[in-house]
Amino acid sequence: MIKVNHLKKSFGKNVVLKDLNEEVSQGEVVVVIGPSGSGKSTFLRCLNLLEEPTGGEIVFEGTTLTGLKEKEMNQLRQKMGMVFQQFNLFPHKTAKENLTIAPVKSKGVNQMEADNKAVKLLDQVGLGDKADAYPASLSGGQQQRVAIARALAMDPDVMLFDEPTSALDPEMVGEVLKVMKDLAKSGITMIVVTHEMGFAREVADRVLFMDDGYIVEQGTPENIFTQPAHERTQDFLAKVL
């Protein structure tokens, strides 16, 4: 479903992604782990072109994204939901409006339909009673759950998570992970950058270990966590586990 060939990205002289090759299939849950600065987030942000790759190509559902026109890119982005570390909810909109604005304004869904769907999705993430609350009155965990529901409101084919629990207080991590686990069970394709090794172990179909702009090693959680082949993977796991 997503194919990445020789993806490269640099910021000025700083080369962040050196040569990435990867393929994610329909329904797969891929977790990306690795030390800070290894390029995990940049990799994820390149997938929906929030960062313009410096080289290589990304093919999504048969369409090459790199070099696409603005308008076509916008339509393809609608199929790729993204959840950010800092939630990035729209502070001037209620929870429900956060979910409906993009479907109504960009996809042409009518307001009633969008509203109904928003209520259902908020229920699904356990926030049915917060539909009319503004983000500022919600806790971090609640905000991130709204953000997940907001991405789902566009009916994406793939969900990208960029360290979704890193900005949360520890007691709120659980509620967000639970929503993500439920989501994984529903069969949607997910690519998750995270430091939550427990989540990776439990939910991932496949784990990628990135370091220094390369995918150093990949495999089933079982393989990576119990018999890491690469020395750098062993080092990293020794530090975090």
């Binding site: 929906n48 929030l50 603005e70 308008k71 916008n74 339509q75 393809l76 982005r77 609608q78 199929k79 790729m80 939901g81 993204m82 950010f84 800092q86 990035n88 909810l89 729209f90 502070p91 001037h92 604005i101 993009a102 304004k105 960009s106 996809k107 503004y134 983000p135 500022a136 953000a147 907001r150 991405a151 566009m154």
Partner: protein
């Protein structure tokens, strides 16, 4: 930055072009008389704070500029068979307005000094006059001659004949102000010890104010300096001749005496009404009301146009196109880097060379263009202050750049910039007073008028201050109310 410099150069080029073409226009000498007759209107510039020559009074319930000079103007217009239109402009700005073709002639008790003759032509002298010294009544015995004023602070109207004459007072410390009312106030509040004033004008003031005393000053004057004449653009010989004909008739029939008598009646009338009615505010409320309306009109239109212009400029500055960015940056930097006063005068006088833009329109345009630059920076800052994550989130949902700007970024920017925008609105209300220099009848201008006709220095200032405060305070409260409604934190 390089783009910015190019933009500025472009602007300078455009403006130079304007001036070059203006030279071509003014080279068609002698066209003024024909134009006046073709259009059927004689536009006379004056500075209506100079009783008994030009001042405001009620005529059949309407406020008008009256006085001896205005009756002479009416006579000239009648003789030419055209309508008379009077434009009240600050004395300083009269000759620029004449040269920039905002007015056809200037009648303002103006003395044809050698200095002025360099830039404009004059008619025959229509009124011989003398020059007075004005002092406080309590100093009547102390200051009796020019010699007694040696080394003291002396007030004069800037750009006036008196400014030159005052130099004859040994070691005098000159204080030059545009406005006679300000000078009189300075005298009464002991900031200056005496003023040099045109004789009849000084007598008019002293006659209306028991705190003042005036006497004829023994100045050495050239013949030309002893009288008033009508000013023309250079080379308008046919118009000069026509006006001289009317003036000759006035001299023959001794009409100036008659005119002065009528002017005296108007002055007495304003004095009477003052005595009759109870309060100062009640008497002059019309003036303040008119001024406030114009101030509000200028501010409202300027804010609106400024907002639209500012929004466009902000988007240009944020755009990827280097040309748009450069143009907008050059505009903003240039406008912010030059005083509004000069912009107002520039637009009014420069436009006079091309089209006859009314002073109010010129003032509104200048203030709008000025506030556009400031609002552009406020909006740009507001947009930049919205967290980058907001745009990313919107784009990640598939919204286009435009949709993200409109539905996500801009509403949040508005909230961020609201207080700064409110400040700008308040600033505009206050700064719009600058357009009074080109004779727009806004609050400051009307305050000046009230000061000159009421012979009161401080009270009108106080009333104007209260009105400004009422306006800005109301606006602040209104803006706070809407700010509160936008707040979801």
């Amino acid at each position: 930055m390089k783009k910015g410099i190019q933009g500025i150069l472009l602007m300078i080029l455009l403006w130079t072009g304007l001036f070059v073409s203006s030279d071509v226009v003014s080279a068609e000498d002698g066209s003024a008389l024909k134009r006046v007759q073709d259009e059927g209107v004689l536009v006379v510039g004056t500075s209506a704070d100079f009783p008994p020559f030009e001042f405001y009074a009620e005529v059949d319930g309407e406020r008008q500029v009256v006085g001896m000079d205005m009756m002479i103007a009416q006579k000239i217009a009648d003789d030419l068979g055209v309508e008379l239109e009077i434009q009240d402009i600050g004395f300083d700005s009269l000759l620029p307005a004449l040269e920039a073709r905002n007015v056809d002639i200037v009648i303002a008790g103006m003395t044809p000094t050698a200095e002025r003759r360099k830039s404009v032509d004059f008619s025959e002298i229509y009124f011989k006059t003398f020059q007075n010294i004005m002092v406080r009544a309590e100093d009547e015995e102390v200051y009796t001659s020019l010699e007694s004023l040696k080394g003291l602070p002396i007030g004069v109207q800037s750009g006036s004949l008196q400014e030159g004459l005052a130099e004859q007072i040994e070691d005098a410390e000159l204080m030059s102000l545009t406005n006679l009312s300000d000078l009189l106030l300075a005298l009464k509040t002991n900031r200056i010890e005496a003023m040099v004033m045109q004789g009849p004008n000084a007598e008019a003031h002293a006659g209306n104010d028991e705190d003042l005393h005036t006497f004829v000053g023994a100045f050495e004057m050239e013949d030309d300096d002893a009288g008033s004449a009508v000013a023309f653009r250079q080379g308008e010989d046919s118009l000069v001749a026509a006006v001289n004909e009317s003036l000759a008739e006035i001299a023959e029939q001794n009409l100036t005496d008659e005119y002065l008598a009528v002017a005296g009646e108007y002055m007495a009338q304003s004095e009477d009404s003052e005595a009759e009615e109870s309060g100062f505010a009640a008497n002059y409320w019309d003036y303040f009301w008119d001024g406030t309306s114009i101030t509000l009109l200028i501010s409202a239109v300027s804010v609106l146009v400024g907002l639209i212009l500012g929004f466009i400029l902000a988007l240009m500055r944020l755009s990827k196109s280097l040309v748009l960015k450069g143009l907008a940056t050059a505009y903003v930097e240039f406008v912010r880097g030059t005083p509004l006063l000069i912009q107002v005068m520039f637009i009014y006088f420069a436009s006079g060379l091309v089209v006859n833009l009314p002073a109010l329109a010129a003032g509104i345009i200048a203030v709008s263009l000025n506030s556009g630059a400031y609002i552009a920076e406020i909006i740009r800052g507001g947009i930049n202050s919205v967290n980058k994550g907001q745009e990313e989130a919107a784009r990640s949902l598939g919204m286009s750049k435009k949709e993200a700007m409109r539905h996500i970024i801009f509403p949040q920017a508005v909230k961020n910039i609201w207080p700064a925008l409110g400040n700008e609105f308040i600033t505009i209300i206050k700064e719009s007073s600058i357009v009074s220099v080109i004779g727009v009848g806004e609050l400051i201008f009307q305050t000046r008028v009230v000061r000159s006709i009421s012979f009161q220095g401080i009270l009108p200032l106080f009333v104007a201050m209260l009105i400004y405060f009422a306006l800005t305070f109301t606006l602040t409260k209104l803006l706070n109310f809407y700010e509160g409604r936008m707040n979801h934190d």
